[in-house]
Symmetry: C2
Subunit: 585 residues, 2 copies
């Protein structure tokens, strides 16, 4: 060992001990005849002292140390005269008697500090230096802990972690696959898994009873801030369970993680909100319920007053922003601009202020009387000082816009504190979504999701109305996980493929092995998958999952540090029987 | 929940409880007016009883159950009259009052028993049924436990599990990469990692101090029984350590795993055997030291007796098989055939028997006197009753053949008990291997391995003689892990690439980011990677790693269950800018 202690562990009780430390030079300061060096490792920072009067040569050596040099020192722990209360080692310092430079360092391209001067691109290129910064490393430490505690909890609950294959078969349903050419089977390809869905269901058929895996998954999609071509799932499946069993088990996991990672007790049962309510009251299947401001529908109170905008639309609804009657013209104009942005898509914004004196003032005073507005205020539960914000239009689009407005108001009012966590289960998702372009149904979750037993009769009459035994865990407006009870009956599974527009031959070619497996005693089963990257991001209060991934890719799917992807040798291509087509730019 | 208890947990103390069980029908037996059904799940088997006199309809239903039907029963726990001592639930049975068939099953293509009638190919095709068999599931349970205990141990030792990317960059050094075409970067490819080597070294540069990961790795090689295109490593790296620190840490892990998985205390320190000794005494860099039978060299004792075979060769050596002087002519002929097999490659076998009366009888009596043979026997330490087996030829080849002969004799003499574990560290590997075809050195371990400091001077004079700070963990003749102290100096790393025949441009293109990283304060570091599949196999006493992989591939790299790899749509190929070349069969 190059050290007897880490740079984070010496305390006042260690005074007079001779110790050896190794680490990186955080900074050096020369003060009179003394040189102070802060030595850093993963565990902390310790102050080293060199005295020019005691050992001039050694002190000279210390003076030459640059930032990020790797050094090893031998010295004696002493009590500091001026203590630093901000760090755990702040009561002591090391009087150094020996110094070895283990490796020098060029000046790093940005400062290795909690707040660095390095821009995003530079930090990604030198990610190995960015990872030295405490906040970045803390995210990865949290990630380690989340994985570890997840495994501990699930192991306790008799789940077995089983590794499923990475080189699997491409399936056209779902997102785009990454594919891997097979040299031994020329012209054929493996696919990288978008999830181990089929394998975990097979493990249930195998009687593994309770399966989990923390596993890399892959999707060849165009990227966004919260998407990476490779991402990590906590993938779980149980047999002989109904929906309630699955929710209870993973509510338990979620509470365990909050307790052990954040020391937060989520004592309440998580709310279970039907998808239809989520859409009606929050305009989203992942509502942020850290704050209220639920949608209020006004269509019936707004008609027949000659206001064409409201009369002509399907839906009129709004939210009540508490205490915002003081908003200025400018602020309201800004909100109007906000809702009219193409990403939000509303045509305009109607507002009603409840003044302190109880009168109501609105942007539609021309059309609506004080009595009308009072009826609205009553429905909103608005008090003097509140501001009602109202949108109108096609129902789904308007709810979506209202959702954005609600989130914006939540942010403006400071109601979206990153240290407050509001979990809920969204349940009773529709089983199918009609795609107007493809003129067919798509599975909202995936084709293996079971319909609610009471809705099965609708399969032949009105498939679009069927609700699924499917559920999402949502925290603070982020979908952290989703799952369902699966179909375990091969006839029903066949029927589902039929509804989804598979010919029997296509179904057989793609999923024949699964339907075959169902013929040999498939138990009732269901499960869930959590997005681990997102889970860590929520717990760490990050804006992008990229910040909790050691070596992320950029929005073009590139790793700019190692410069991947890259071209390969022609010999490699020949072995794989592949040619690259001329590329049209 | 479909059950109140599992099929493995009811005991005599549960008598009179009303319980609900769910599971698979293992077998049904009709005896007089009674029907007995064994219900099975992952946790065990419980006997169900149906009485025709009490409920004829129910009993009739039970009589119709087929093997592997999935059922749910409600009933009362009763003490059995004839107890089954072989199973933990053998003292009780369930008097069933309600039976639900959750799913029927076709007759499985092979029996779901510990000893099945299904052949390899059939079992792989229906792997989900094969996994129902207790011994197969037990291997995967052991695998889960090994992963879990590894994580627990390493977490305790402050290792952080960090996920490194799967979509990385292809490098020509090492085995063949699997590649993944990039749609977003047409004509370019990712590679799947053969190991996270470079990333774990970067994490050391990042100051992560102690890293591990249980991670899938990929090699596009022609397959053997103990090779799979995807395999799992326990990948570890530490900084500020020397070789001894790494060995001690992972000796600790190994002992922890034996204790917690097999309840075996490996109390002794693991032997550290230099590579040169391993080759000299066992003809292998992974000696099986469950038994002795070390090689004895005889060249000096065999010359000048006009035996051309021995006189003309570089090496004469043998082993002493205790108590085998009774081997018949037929047995010895079989051994001769064994060593002459092309895989072993010896030209012939010389034998000397130490008869009970002390006389020596050999296949070379014509050339060697009793005195000569006595001198041999003395060197072998042979006692009356022993058999000396001697090979001659070129040194390395003969040692390799002798190694095979030794292992064969070990097996014949029952010295290779799967329940005995003999671990050792092989150390001081050569840094480089000369490749006669390529006329250049290759790294024996990989190009990042550090030479022993005392051998660094040989870099310029005699690189082939340099020993590396590299080590392998070997148990029972199987290499379970290997690692090294790494180069952390960019100049030395450059020098290594030069010796390995890289031009500076090639080195820069392939590993520029690593050498760049080394310029910014790289700490001394080293690590190890264990083959998890092999580790499980050794602990479970398996002959092939395939038996501890849930969904393995066959020798052509195919998953015969899901039928992968397979062809993909032309649209997918077009998106990737790829064409498949006409395939020459």
């Amino acid at each position: 060992m190059y050290r007897t202690h880490t740079c984070g562990e010496l305390r006042i009780a260690d005074v007079q001990k001779e110790v050896t430390l190794a680490g990186w030079v955080q900074r050096t300061r020369k003060m009179g005849g003394m040189t102070f060096v802060d030595i850093r490792d993963r565990y902390g920072i310790t102050q080293l002292v060199f005295n020019n009067e005691v050992n001039e040569e050694l002190c000279e050596k210390a003076n030459k140390l640059g930032r990020e040099f790797v050094i090893q020192v031998v010295g004696t722990v002493m009590e500091r005269s001026s203590k630093n209360k901000n760090i755990p080692t702040g009561e002591v310092e090391i009087i150094v008697k020996d110094l070895v430079v283990l490796n020098a360092s060029e000046t790093p391209p940005f400062t290795i500090e909690d707040e660095t001067d390095g821009g995003d691109e530079l930090r990604m290129q030198y990610r190995y230096l960015d990872l030295r910064r405490t906040p970045v490393r803390a995210n990865l430490e949290l990630r380690h802990k989340l994985s570890f505690e997840t495994r501990r909890f699930l192991d306790d609950q008799r789940f077995l972690e089983v590794e499923t294959p990475v080189l699997i078969k491409s399936t056209p349903e779902g997102a785009r696959d990454f594919v891997v050419p097979s040299r031994m089977n020329p012209g054929e390809f493996y696919a990288l898994p978008q999830s181990p869905q089929v394998f975990k269901q097979l493990l249930m058929v195998s009687g593994f009873d309770r399966y989990f895996q923390i596993v890399k998954c892959f999707r060849d999609e165009d990227l966004r801030a919260d998407r990476q071509p490779e991402f990590t799932q906590i993938d779980c499946e149980m047999c002989f369970v109904n929906q309630e069993d699955v929710l209870n088990t993973f509510e338990g996991l979620t509470k365990h993680l909050f307790k052990h990672l954040k020391n937060i007790d989520l004592t309440e049962d998580f709310i279970r909100m039907p998808y239809s309510d989520a859409m009606k009251f929050y305009g989203s299947d992942k509502p942020d319920i850290r704050f209220g401001m639920k949608f209020v529908e006004l269509k019936d109170l707004t008609t027949d007053r000659n206001f064409v905008v409201f009369d002509s639309v399907e839906y009129v609804g709004g939210i009540c922003a508490e205490g915002c009657a003081t908003y200025t013209r400018k602020q309201i104009d800004a909100l109007t601009d906000f809702v009219k942005r193409p990403q939000v898509g509303a045509k305009g914004l109607v507002w009603v202020k409840c003044e302190a004196d109880g009168t109501l003032k609105s942007s539609v005073d021309k059309f609506y009387s004080q009595e009308d507005l009072k009826a609205w205020a009553e429905r909103f539960g608005a008090k003097p000082g509140d501001l009602m914000l109202i949108l109108a239009g096609e129902e789904k689009k308007t709810q979506k816009a209202l959702c954005e407005l609600r989130l914006e108001m939540g942010s403006q009012l400071g109601l979206r504190d990153k240290n407050v966590f509001a979990p809920l289960w969204v349940v009773d998702f529709p089983l199918l979504e009609w795609d107007e372009d493809a003129k067919r149904f798509f599975a909202m979750h995936h084709p293996f999701t079971a319909p609610k037993p009471e809705d099965i009769a609708l399969l032949d009459t009105d498939p679009g109305k069927i609700r699924a035994n499917a559920y999402d865990l949502v925290i603070n407006g982020v979908e952290l996980g989703g799952g369902s009870i699966r179909i375990h009956d091969s006839k029903l599974q066949h029927k589902m493929f039929e509804i989804l527009g598979f010919t029997p031959e296509q179904a057989e070619a793609q999923f024949g092995f699964l339907m075959n497996a169902f013929k040999f005693g498939a138990p009732p089963h269901g499960g869930i998958a959590f997005g681990l990257d997102r889970f860590v991001s929520i717990l760490a209060g990050l804006d992008s999952i990229r910040d909790c991934i050691a070596f992320p890719k950029n929005n073009s799917g590139r790793d700019v540090m190692i410069d991947a992807p890259s071209s390969i040798d022609n010999a490699q291509l020949d072995e794989l029987c592949l040619s690259i087509n001329p590329i049209q730019k």
